[in-house]
Symmetry: C2
Subunit: 335 residues, 2 copies
């Protein structure tokens, strides 16, 4: 971890805590507790493992810094993108019936769905309030532009979430549907983080566009890699059982590519329930129909597009080096 990132991390946590402290009021303290639990600060299992990687705020702050603007001024926006991310996770966990998040019981498991819905709502509201704090350090038109970008992203998120849920019952999902879903669910917020970072950094139009585009392709590459790891990942490295995406019947890119072949994998998928016992066979069948190489090639393409975009943005200084470094780690991850 480079020095600048080490100095950003505690400031991000402080800013998040400051934003969540809007719930500091005797009567709502048990409610605040549900938010701080989810954010990884309180409750059983609290600590670094439970907070998540804070990738979105880091991307935002590094982008602002490399544009030559004091990144500390952008902290409310960094908190805002992280709060949006966590709002979507809390609701996602209810929608997907997920029992665990970052190794701990999810909010809905601990407090029930009605309260968990409210926790997600409050995280979103706190994000919106955080954005208004930018007005003390930035011109109001730039603040409003940032608000607009973030809200447009939130609309993309809900649309992506709708598509994702609708895929479950559909048998006609195509690769282009996949891209639309992933653009909304994963790429949009990563893109907005870089985009807002550049806007607050007062970058010129073409640089802003380069950062926006970098975040977008980073998100797509990230998701496609995730799809690969979810089927052929090394269990010992990823920490989750390999091929679990197949058992959960997730319509990931390799699966859609495989189904498109209408060959042995499609036959298997449509007729045999995939269990821990036959999942390795299913994964091999899928690879034998070139779905592994196909998806790998696409991940490579998206990675190249992301790298081209960030080279175009040409990040400078210590923050620039750290940003290139972070991009590199995100684009070549094995976990």
């Amino acid at each position: 971890m480079t020095d600048i990132i080490s100095s950003m991390r505690p400031e991000i946590e402080n800013e998040l805590m400051h934003q969540v402290s809007r719930l500091d009021e005797e009567h709502s303290l048990p409610f605040k507790e549900m938010l701080t639990y989810h954010l990884g600060w309180t409750g059983e299992g609290a600590g670094e493992e439970a907070t998540g990687k804070r990738i979105r705020p880091l991307l935002l702050l590094l982008t602002t810094a490399t544009c030559g603007t004091d990144w500390k001024k952008a902290l409310p926006a960094a908190a805002a993108v992280e709060l949006v991310h966590n709002f979507s996770l809390v609701h996602d966990d209810i929608q997907d019936n997920s029992p665990k998040r970052r190794g701990r019981p999810t909010v809905w498991v601990k407090w029930g769905s009605p309260l968990a819905i409210n926790v997600g709502d409050a995280l979103f509201v706190l994000s919106n309030l955080a954005m208004t704090d930018l007005a003390s350090d930035f011109p109001t038109d730039r603040v409003l532009e940032s608000v607009r970008i973030l809200q447009q992203t939130c609309l993309d998120l809900t649309r992506g979430q709708y598509l994702d849920m609708s895929f479950e019952d559909r048998t006609d999902v195509k690769v282009e549907d996949y891209w639309m879903m992933v653009a909304g669910k994963t790429a949009s917020l990563l893109s907005a983080s870089c985009h807002i970072g550049a806007i607050l950094g007062n970058a010129d139009e073409s640089t802003v566009e380069a950062y926006r585009s970098f975040g977008h392709f980073l998100g797509l590459a990230f998701q496609v890699q995730d799809d690969i790891l979810g089927i052929w990942g090394d269990e010992n490295v990823t920490g989750k059982s390999a091929a679990s995406d197949l058992i959960e019947r997730k319509k990931t890119l390799p699966v859609l590519a495989g189904l498109g072949k209408q060959g042995p994998f499609a036959e298997f998928w449509n007729n045999v329930p995939i269990t821990p016992d036959n999942v390795e066979e299913a994964a091999k069948l899928l690879a034998s129909e070139s779905a592994y190489t196909y998806t790998h090639d696409i991940a490579k393409q998206m990675t190249d597009l992301a790298i081209n975009s960030i080279r175009e943005a040409d990040p400078q200084g210590e923050a620039g080096d750290a940003l290139m470094d972070l991009a590199d780690r995100l684009l070549h991850r094995t976990t």
Copy 2:
């Protein structure tokens, strides 16, 4: 209905449709349909009965108009407060397990909770995007101030919602807890509607404060009346079975007042399940312990405070008359 309100109503619907049209995209049309169903425009039972009264946008527009500003410019804010209201209703219906809303099956009943959570989220996002549209007609600092007011209100809503849910399992709820919950759940958004209307109308500070305060007390009076109607309302007039709040064991103001007496009503409440057969007895018992007159007096006090505030604001012109008229109808309702 006065002339100015008749001309506002269709414009409010148009603006809402314009805001919701952000979901016009082939792939998200079935999702958009869920929002338009909830807003009363599509699906079985669509029509005036299903749209709700649009009280919040009317209050906002009338306030702006009476300050001498063209109310049409404030339409995006009017849509925004109505969208926030509906976002909270959709989530509330899931949280309360409510099967019906405005006489029709609720969104979660029709499409399941996971999608309904997403519908509420999208309504909230659309509200936030609507607010950014104000920038084309108002100075950005006034837009940001309005955004801040609305988001602070949304935080009050989630806090009020938390308190409401926590009351269900608590046996120690006091009258002061009730006020805190109602201030968040009901009064805050009515207050924000008037407050934002006055800010956009560029009213002076004391007038802004008078409108804000009017909305606040209007909300409290409205809720206390609702509590009375929910126990002693005329079934033939309210359209819902009288005393249903007692059967649902809602901790309304009259109930909390009655429980505070620790007399025969408290005894009944704590030991006998309230059913359609004994609910009339329970309502009479509650009235005999002065809970009816107590609550009625409080409703009168809140109404007086609301009227004092609006008199202080001194609304002018046709919009002013219409606002006084609307306030009067809301404060002396029987349904």
